[in-house]
């Protein structure tokens, strides 16, 4: 599990210029990204990873606010990204603020 002292996802590796890092809580409806970091405590982190919010999982924000609802995809038939295997997870805002995704648009947001 990757951890960070700062609440800005600045520990995410592979900080190439193709995408910006933001917490799930700061995404807008319809925005998507790939999970790259989590600052959750051990049990919460393990549970959410097991539910599908693991590094490299593709997420799309369906609903902002409290709760925040994300559609999560992991793996795909035929190798294309983000389709075919999906579930929805409702997250309390305090959890959504601690999971970071690499988006492909906008500046880095807290």
């Amino acid at each position: 599990m990757l951890t960070s002292q700062n609440n800005d996802g600045s520990c995410c590796q592979n900080k190439d210029t193709d995408g910006h890092v933001a917490s799930i809580a700061s995404l807008k409806r319809g925005e998507s990204g790939v999970v790259c970091d989590s600052q959750l405590a051990g049990n919460d982190d393990a549970l959410l990873r097991a539910m599908g919010l693991h590094p490299a999982a593709w997420v799309r924000l369906c609903r902002e606010g409290e709760p925040c609802i994300v559609a999560v995809s992991s793996g795909s038939p035929g190798g294309s990204c983000g389709c075919g295997s999906e579930c929805r997870i409702g997250l309390a805002r305090s959890l959504a603020q601690r999971i970071f995704v690499r988006t492909t648009d906008g500046a880095a947001r807290r």
Binding site: A50, C62, R63, P67, P77, E86, R88, G90
Partner: protein, 673 residues
């Protein structure tokens, strides 16, 4: 890890059913076993397990035993559910009453529409090297979304048999039931580390899954998104929630009253038959007033309990309840309760017993304990006859006000419950609340079959746990009210003598009617006197000073003391004490109860301040032995049940005293001085 292969030593082959939550495991279990199942617990936990029989061949000897394990996202989580699954697969635990040994086969249930994630659990299970069968469920939904799975490729990559099923339509279920007896040790071993396992899952899914053109999931996603925006909206979501709850309660009370009336009529007829068949005597009274009364006291609530669980199960199957948990989380979180608590609290409106058992779904221990402690504050069905009696007396010919008082009782119970939870979470159950993370299942048409089987399970639990206790309580109360025997009072003896020596008026029918009325009055006086001199009556007189501040005389004290064991008996106990007859629903009896006087001969027993005091008392008091027993078991010790009893009793006493005082009970008209 060395290979382990387990074989059945004696008896039926055992299959453990494992899978992620929301994979349709319950529906599949119901489809495979139907009503041929029983419910048990895992030792040392409150986790339920269902054990059923599956016909795997033509003969009964081909049956396999299916054990439904708790839904888990991963076997490696530090959770009780995951620990139980690991222990069962390792042969170190089994449901109570079952052989403790590793299952002969493991059936892993996967969701075809979310295979990528589900394959993680499959991989962890395959690593256990037990004979395994994989059931890929919801294959009909996957097809609708444009997904096709290559069964042969999937079986080859997993190294074990794979069956594509739809528990909802029944597709593939028969083949699965045969395959359950033919599991094989996997020919492949997935990687042991998380990253390696995830990569393995991606490869398996990429090879075995196929997209038939663009997925058709986009349209259903859009529908789901739109519906979620409404049902989880801060304002619309609450409105939706309250509308759904109002509809549920309306259906519950409107429809359940018909079978409840039929049940009361049947048991009334049964009592009549016993009275006609058996000679007069103690045994006849034991049967009619103890046994029949005790059984009917349980069975009469079954329609409400069954209907409530049926409706909750349907709502859950639609996918709405998971969203409602987030809506109610906003309402309950300020009081230290989680959104998960709303189903147990809702269920407690029929009966606290299944409501408390439903708290097993609450993951955090402190939050679960708080919910258990306050669930009995929710107005249950057993309180309703008391509310009806008292509000009818308070608001005779004013049905709107009576209905308002009724609703007020519900509201008071809920308010007391949430405030008590807040107090508990600030004192004895301190700790941060766990933020919610909940998988939201897709919206779908609910399965009536699943709802019926869930209702059947819950009804059986209620009958076994509450029914037996209520029957025993009624027998105990009957004996305490029947003995010791005393001579009829002088007034009753005089009436009986006089009725046999009336001066004829020349109208034989009128004379007979007068004599019968006098004998009936003599019987009523005798019955009321016998009750007052019985063990419970004496107890009522001894305890009267304790309840006098609440406005209760010894007669009401008898009723309240009796109802501490079971609320249901209050109305019938008061009917006997005040009117000399059991049937508290009878209009004539009710009128006599309303007009009954205290020992001063002037003050009504049911004076208005006393009625308000009674209402508040019954809203807040813990008056149910079966609920206390379940609290002790589910909370992990008798101390929690004792705390619940003491807290609710103190609150009820104080609240009733305040109600009595505010409504003019002390020195006011109709009160006592």
């Amino acid at each position: 890890m060395p290979e382990t292969v387990s074989m059945a030593t004696t008896g039926t082959a055992r299959v453990a059913l494992i899978g992620n939550p929301n994979t349709g495991k319950t529906t599949l279990f119901n489809r495979l076993c139907g009503v041929r199942h029983k419910t048990s617990n895992f030792p040392g936990t409150t986790l339920e397990s269902r054990i059923g029989k599956v016909r795997a061949g033509d003969a009964a000897s081909d049956d396999v035993e299916l054990i439904d394990l708790p839904g888990v996202y991963s076997l490696e989580l530090d959770q009780v559910e995951a620990g139980i699954c690991r222990a069962v697969l390792a042969g170190e635990a089994a449901p109570r009453g079952e052989r403790v040994e590793a299952p002969d086969t493991v059936c892993v249930v996967l969701d075809a529409t979310n295979l990528g994630r589900n394959l993680m659990l499959a991989g962890e299970t395959l690593r256990r090297r037990l004979p395994t069968v994989v059931a890929v469920n919801m294959i009909d939904l996957a097809r609708r979304q444009g997904l096709a799975l290559d069964r042969a490729k999937l079986s080859e990559r997993l190294g074990c048999p794979v069956v594509l099923v739809s528990a909802r339509t029944g597709e593939g279920v028969e083949e699965l039931s045969v395959m359950l007896a033919r599991g094989q040790v996997p020919s492949r071993t997935p990687p042991g580390d998380e990253a390696g396992l995830r990569a393995w899952c991606d490869v398996v899914y990429a090879e075995a899954g196929e997209l038939n053109g663009p997925t058709r999931a986009a349209a259903s996603d859009s529908f789901t998104d739109r519906l979620d925006r409404v049902v989880t909206h801060p304002v619309l979501g609450l409105l939706t929630f309250f509308s759904v709850m109002a509809g549920l309660f309306y259906v519950l009370f409107r429809i359940a009253e018909f079978p409840m009336g039929w049940i009361e009529a049947v048991f009334g007829w049964l009592s009549g038959v016993i009275n006609n068949i058996m000679p007069e005597g103690v045994l006849r009274e034991l049967l009619t007033d103890g046994v029949v009364s005790g059984i009917s006291g349980t069975v009469v609530f079954l329609p409400q309990i069954c209907l409530l669980f049926f409706l909750i199960s349907l709502l859950e199957d639609t996918g709405y309840l998971a969203r409602a948990a987030f809506v109610t989380d906003r309402l309950l979180r300020p009081f230290g309760l989680p959104g998960h608590a709303f189903v147990p609290l809702l269920s407690s409106h029929a009966c606290a017993l299944p409501g408390i058992m439903a708290t097993r779904a609450i993951p955090d221990r402190r939050e679960r304990l708080a919910t258990i402690l306050v669930a009995p504050f929710m107005t249950c069905s057993a309180r309703l006859p008391v509310y009806v009696l008292v509000t009818t007396i308070l608001f005779r010919d004013q049905p709107a006000l009576a209905a308002g008082a009724f609703v007020g009782c519900y509201a008071l119970g809920m308010l007391a419950g949430v405030l008590s939870a807040l107090l508990a979470r600030r004192t004895i159950l301190r700790g941060a609340s766990r933020p919610m993370a909940l998988e939201l299942p897709s919206y779908k048409v609910p399965s009536v079959r699943t709802a019926l089987l869930t209702t059947y399970d819950r009804a059986l639990v209620f009958i076994k746990k509450a029914g037996t206790n209520i029957l025993m309580i009624c027998i105990v109360l009957w004996w305490l009210g029947a003995y010791p025997h005393v001579q009829p009072p002088a007034e009753a003896q005089l009436l009986a003598q006089t009725s046999g020596h009336l001066i004829p008026t020349g109208h034989p029918e009128e004379d007979k009617a007068r004599a019968d009325a006098m004998m009936a009055e003599a019987d009523r006086l005798t019955a009321a006197h016998a009750k007052s001199q019985s063990f419970i009556g004496r107890l009522g007189r001894a305890a009267e000073p304790v309840f006098r501040p609440l406005g209760y005389d010894w007669q009401l004290t008898v009723g309240v003391l009796a109802s501490f064991a079971a609320r249901e008996v209050f109305v019938s106990t008061m009917a006997v004490v005040l009117a000399g007859e059991e049937d508290g629903e009878d209009g004539g009896v009710r009128e006599r109860m309303e007009q009954a006087k205290r020992t001063d001969g002037v003050t009504p027993v049911f004076a208005k301040p006393t009625c308000w005091s009674l209402l508040v008392f019954f809203v807040l008091a813990m008056q149910c032995l079966p609920t206390l027993a379940v609290t002790a078991r589910e909370a992990g010790g008798a101390k929690w049940a004792l705390l619940q009893l003491i807290w609710m009793s103190v609150l009820a006493y104080g609240g009733a005293a305040v109600a009595f005082w505010i409504t003019g009970g002390w020195g006011g008209a109709g009160g006592i001085s």
